[in-house]
């Protein structure tokens, strides 16, 4: 049994807590997260409302809990989109001849010129902002990093003895990709998924903040931050709670990614 590395443990625990919080929010939250109670607008934290209430008298803790669902949902779909497109593209780029491969990577570079935020704003302008447009935009913007990482990993696998042997034995490219290349890049996929998840959480928060993400009344950490802006003087806690939630979530996925990387490739341990 190898020594547990602290990044992996810390990242795992943080991500675990967020997932747990999201799951619990389905069956129980202190209050209905969308329930408006004008009599307790901007209430300070108390035994009844641990994190206080917002300008509509909604319970902040309940909103944070339900908001974690939005965050995870957007992250899962965005990373899923990125992986489903990026992984085959990366493997393909590693296996085809020089020119098609060059073409794929150039196209990849071009997509890099459209960051997630810009894509999501374009989507929002054309189709109207929604959770779906945000997820797809973040997903597409994350494709290049997946394709790039998987390609370099797949290139290494393609140079190994057993793949050379399989090719020499006349195996078709497709079985080689599925049987040899894919299983050997799963660790890279996992690491990249974790890193992309962190980026997706950041992007979702920024988009909701700008009003290009999940529309009200569904709670979202980014929009909670945006709504808090008018109360920076009177009730700064309204910004602190969702802000800290975002930062902790991103930290968790980043640490998880770092920890996984170290675990899969101990040689790189103190490089990052």
């Amino acid at each position: 049994m190898r020594r547990l590395n602290p990044s992996l443990v810390a990242g795992g625990v943080i991500v675990g807590i967020i997932v747990l919080m999201a799951l619990v929010s389905f069956i129980w939250t202190p209050y209905d997260a969308t329930f408006v109670d004008p009599s307790i607008r901007l209430a300070k934290p108390s035994w009844e409302h641990w994190f206080g209430t917002d300008k509509f008298g909604r319970d902040v803790l309940s909103q944070i809990m339900v908001g974690s669902r939005t965050t995870l949902f957007v992250g899962v779909v965005a990373v899923g989109v990125a992986a489903v497109i990026g992984v085959p593209l990366g493997i393909l780029a590693a296996m085809v001849r020089r020119w098609p491969s060059e073409f794929i990577m150039r196209a990849n570079d071009l997509v890099l010129a459209f960051p997630a935020l810009l894509l999501a704003i374009m989507f929002g302008a054309v189709f109207g902002a929604s959770t779906l447009t945000a997820m797809i935009a973040i997903g597409i913007a994350s494709v290049p990093s997946f394709a790039r990482v998987i390609r370099s990993g797949a290139l290494q696998v393609m140079r190994t003895e057993y793949v050379l042997a399989a090719r020499a034995a006349g195996r078709q490219p497709w079985p080689i990709a599925v049987r040899h290349v894919l299983p050997n890049v799963t660790s890279l996929i996992t690491v990249q998924a974790s890193v992309s998840f962190a980026i997706a959480v950041l992007a979702e928060a920024a988009l909701s903040f700008l009003g290009f993400g999940t529309p009200p009344p569904t709670p979202s950490w980014g929009r909670m931050l945006q709504e808090s802006q008018e109360f920076l003087f009177s009730a700064p806690r309204l910004a602190i709670f969702p802000g800290v939630a975002i930062a902790i979530a991103v930290l968790g996925f980043n640490l998880l990614g770092d920890g996984l990387r170290d675990r899969f490739d101990p040689k790189l341990e103190d490089r990052r």
Binding site: F114, L117, G124, A125, V126, L232, P236, A239, G243
Partner: protein, 316 residues
């Protein structure tokens, strides 16, 4: 050298052409009818048809594209369907604001990342290095707009040292300009600095393991002298790549920070365009941002060659 320059210029031109087609297809073709979008669903057929005719939206798409691209090359970005105002001057006005902000953010990021990253690498086994590492890890997790909000809370609300928001052109009131620039630039710079620090650290760590650094020490250079004279330029090569990507992130990140600090930059123009359903304006701003990103990538490629003589002769 010349060959590479030609190759990179070719890549730049093709990328620009392809992305202009993409942006045009996305913004002008996908929505169906920009005139309808501009006027809203309740507008009469007649009004929509008039607007279409007025702005040439009834012409074939290829003509419209060529027209738009031709204008773009001359700096003519067309006329807004909504406000009926020239778009070009607005965009260039706002672009200056955003560029100033991004530049200031980048400078701050570099001022943080280079010393902090180097120190972290030099002390990577010591407590101080690990502590810096943890701080940078937290910095990476904070989005720029959140950093902006926290900075406002601390320096504007609590301490009252700096204005919470606003923008004054530098020519009008340099002192005010600087005061208002500090917080948004810090918001951008602190976060990017944290990200960059981690790359500087790993680049310097790699260089510290290199044999030529040992040769430099065997010559009689002290550890930091050796790192300064022989390590810096070599470590800069991978860092410059990240820097290029980061400039792109910063340009877009500025959109959100502008919103937080109520700065009239390209970002707020873009967001206004979206909420006014001004599709041509959005299309133009997106294109300008993409051009900026591609240009930065191009310059980074050239800088690369300047830094690493191994790339100058022959092919890869």
């Amino acid at each position: 050298m010349i060959l590479r320059l030609i190759e990179r210029t070719g890549v730049l031109l093709v990328s620009l052409a392809v992305s202009s087609v993409l942006v045009f297809a996305f913004m002008a073709v996908l929505p169906g009818d920009p005139a309808r979008v501009a006027l809203g669903v309740n507008a009469s057929e007649q009004a929509v048809a008039e607007l279409r005719q007025q702005f040439g939206l009834d012409r074939p798409l290829t003509t419209q594209y060529v027209d738009w691209l031709g204008g773009l090359l001359h700096g003519d970005l067309g006329t807004s369907y909504v406000s009926k105002a020239e778009i070009g001057p607005q965009v260039f006005d706002r672009l200056q604001v955003t560029l100033l902000l991004v530049l200031a953010g980048m400078v701050i990021a570099l001022l943080i990342a280079v010393p902090a990253g180097t120190l972290m690498a030099a002390r990577h086994r010591k407590v101080s290095g690990l502590a810096l590492s943890a701080v940078s890890q937290i910095g990476v997790a904070v989005p720029a707009f959140l950093a902006g909000i926290l900075l406002i809370m601390l320096f504007a609300v609590k301490l009252g040292w700096l204005p919470a928001n606003g923008w004054t052109p530098p020519a009008q009131d340099p002192a005010m300009f600087l005061q208002q620039l500090i917080l948004p630039a810090l918001a951008l710079g602190l976060v990017q600095g944290a990200v960059l620090t981690r790359y500087v650290r790993s680049a310097v760590l790699d260089v510290l393991r290199e044999d030529y650094l040992r040769t430099a020490r065997a010559k009689g250079l002290r550890p930091f002298q050796a790192l300064w004279r022989h390590g810096l330029r070599n470590a800069a090569v991978p860092v410059v790549t990240v820097l290029g990507l980061q400039l792109a992130t910063l340009l877009i990140g500025a959109v959100v920070v502008e919103r937080v600090f109520v700065i009239p930059g390209l970002g707020s123009l873009l967001l206004d365009g979206v909420s006014n359903r001004d599709l041509l304006l959005v299309q133009d701003v997106v294109m300008v941002l993409v051009i900026a990103v591609l240009l930065v990538n191009f310059l980074v490629d050239l800088l690369y060659v300047a830094l690493d003589p191994r790339l100058r002769v022959g092919s890869r």
